[in-house]
Amino acid sequence: MPDEVTVYALSTCPWCRKTKQWFDDSKIPYEAVDVDTLPDEEQDAVADKAYELSGGRRFPVVVINGEVIVGFSPDKFLEHLKGWGG
Amino acid sequence: MTGPSWVPTIDDARVRDGAYVAVYPKGLGVLLARIDGDLFAVANKCAHMGCPLEGGKLDGPVLTCPCHDWRFDLRTGVFLDAPELALATYPVKVEDGKIHVEVGGA
């Protein structure tokens, strides 16, 4: 099974960009959503989801195979990616 | 250049207990507040981004800035969430029924 990765991000957050860039560079497919650029009617629900997963309001929120990592933290990303021994 | 000097402002009776009034000695924005009977004078300028504090809610000695809700103890000027930050404070006295504030020289 391939790794399942979702990145919750803000368009205004450089660490969110770095996170996506890191997955791009590592050639790991991921789904990403910029919460603040969603249409108004979706924004609250997706933001609440990210807040609930992370227990706070900090971005990025990265979910790797069900594990939640808050912040740009390549070491922790690697720990949870199966292809990398996680 | 002149040194600090005492500047008369408004009648003492105009500042009620638990309330504040904005005055402008030598053009400087100052809030006069009376808390538990004592008078205090602080800069009418928030330590965060410089908003005028006038219009903010006073609760006991604590004034909340109307701009982004930073809270200050008007007795000392100190910001409640980080004591390293504070509003400027000025000496006050009452003479002949008027509140005088000592403000810096220009």
Binding site: L10, C13, F59, G71 | E84
Partner: protein
């Protein structure tokens, strides 16, 4: 006020706030510039320079805790990282901001 001018005034205003708290602007000029740019936009759109890396809830009392500089409200967490969450401010002694990790408060 133009957004360049507002950026400069935020620099001036925030410097006065963060210095006494033991912080300075990140030496990473590009990062500082990008973040200030975002804050100017957020201030224009929403009325306050909110943190570009934290989400808002629409509840004023909660959102004002991420109005920049938000160090006073997250002191323990930021002191542990030697930086604020978005990295706009770092401890005064930091010269290599890239070496500072970003971790959530429950790992302090």
């Amino acid at each position: 006020m133009g957004s360049e001018a507002r950026k400069e005034s935020l620099r001036y205003l925030f410097d006065r706030v963060v210095q006494p708290l033991g912080y300075k602007f990140t030496p990473d000029e590009e990062l500082a510039d990008f973040l200030l740019e975002q804050e100017v936009k957020l201030e224009q759109d929403l009325g306050a320079p909110f943190c570009p890396c934290q989400g808002r809830t629409g509840v004023r009392a909660e959102d004002m805790l991420i109005c920049c500089p938000c160090i006073p409200f997250h002191r323990e967490h930021f002191d542990a990282m030697k930086r604020c969450w978005c990295g706009l401010f770092v401890h005064l002694d930091v010269t290599d901001p890239d070496s500072l990790p970003q971790f959530p408060p429950d790992e302090v």
